[in-house]
Amino acid sequence: MILSTNDWASLWLSLKLAAISILILLIIAIPTAYWLTFSRSRYKIIISPVFTLPLILPPTVLGFYLLLLMGPQGVIGHLCQVLGIEQLTFSFSGLVVASIIYSFPFVVLPIQNTFSVIGKSSLEVAATLGAKPFDSIINILLPQAKIGIISAGVIGFAHTIGEFGIVLMIGGNIPGKTQLASVQLYNHFEAYEYSQANHLALILLGLSFIILLILYMLNHKFSHLDTRENALSKI
């Protein structure tokens, strides 16, 4: 392997970013998906498109707006100054924020879909049995939505690994902080370092394949859950 320390660092950084982003994203996405599925609020019709926006906006547009918003003259920049947090541009935290925005619909929509397939029927039953809403969500809705949530997490993880345009715009290419594998690949390519680019690309390809493999195995495993009665029969 002719990968440099920077290359390995970039891979590790990409994995770290994806893992942290997806954890935070799941925590935000589950209540959001619940609201989108079960709420009867009239604001849903306005808010839903806003949530879906990162899906269709080119990453460079997102990156551009984030650059302006996170800068000293932008809303987010001002907020950071007031709260005493470091500037988000050129920082790992900034990339986490950007990843969350960028991968948001990729995580929320599958979970929302899962919730609407499950429907409110079992939640109603739970309510008649005396379960409060939060109780029903934790004990009835989420267990049934397990596969959907994990799948959404895997999709979001993979999506963040592939993040490029936004990182390029707000990252600043700082090794160990914002120099992700996708950017490092681009760097090698632009500097005519083709064999290094190739090696890095192969590793990223392998990683993506493993992620997809996990996703398919999960779906396969859980769809066979019914027949594995013995493993689950506990009183």
């Binding site: 005396g130 009665e229 029969s233």
Partner: protein
Amino acid sequence: MLYLKYELNKPRLNLDLDIELPSTGVTALFGQSGAGKTTILRIIAGLEPTQQGVLRFMGQVWQDKTTKIFIPPYLRKIGYVFQEGKLFNHLNIAKNLSFASSRSKIKKEEAEVIIEELGLKNLLSRMPQKLSGGEKQQVAFARCLLTQPDLLLLDEPFNAIDVYTTQLLIECIHKLQLPTLYVSHDRNEIIKIADYMLHIHDGKIITHGSLNQMLPLLGYNGFIINGKLISSNNGYCCYKTDIGSISFPTVKTPPSNARIYVDSRNINLYKYDTGKLIALHINSIKYDIPFYCQLNVKLANENIDILILKEKIANMEVHSMSTVFIEILQADFIGYQ
């Protein structure tokens, strides 16, 4: 016991209700599909999103649009058996049941009694997908009973389940003596359980009354009484009922407590008592139907209509406010044993 005044305009259903239900026994909600029966149950359970009208149960206000009160379903002490049970598919039977018992104040011994009575002991470790329709309904029933409800709401619970399970559940309902609201479009089942009945059509209550009063609507001509077995020999059984002792032939082993249906065809009328007949006070007579006269009689403490062939009272001087005596030739057992 239950007072509901409700107006609801949905795309396929307009509800205009003003109901007051008796405080004991089983009340049947009878009507065609789409008439609004399930919607009414859901409204009483608190599962319908729009908060209209007024709903009171045993004096508690469960919802009131004018004072903006709405008690959510998990705070109403109801037991709801849905059509097709609706068990939690990701939990085994034991966990389905403990979901209910752990959220109520029921004692462990009481819970075990319910589980035993409904024959669920052998099913505890199974998953809902592996149960038959009847077994699932048994579990659903037990599950809602474990919450110790004050009101039972049953939505066509005997749809597509076997006779044995139906019988078991009906016996259970009778034993519980809980105020029960029971939705059905099946006449045969209603007569097995109900004490009171509401007929709903197109979102409106057309008529209501005790079961005996509503029997003509269900297509029966006669009356239903509850009896306690006094004696049985030589193929005859004798029961003590609210209208007196009655005796009739039977091929089955007579149950000790029975719900008995007497069809008007199986009644003979006499002007004078022989000592073994039952007195029936006639409130009014109508002769406008061909072949039959419609008698409004006092049965125990209610007034019901029965049709009697004109020729049966042809030579008797029967008129309103007079008393006749009836002999019961044949009767049927319906409902529980």
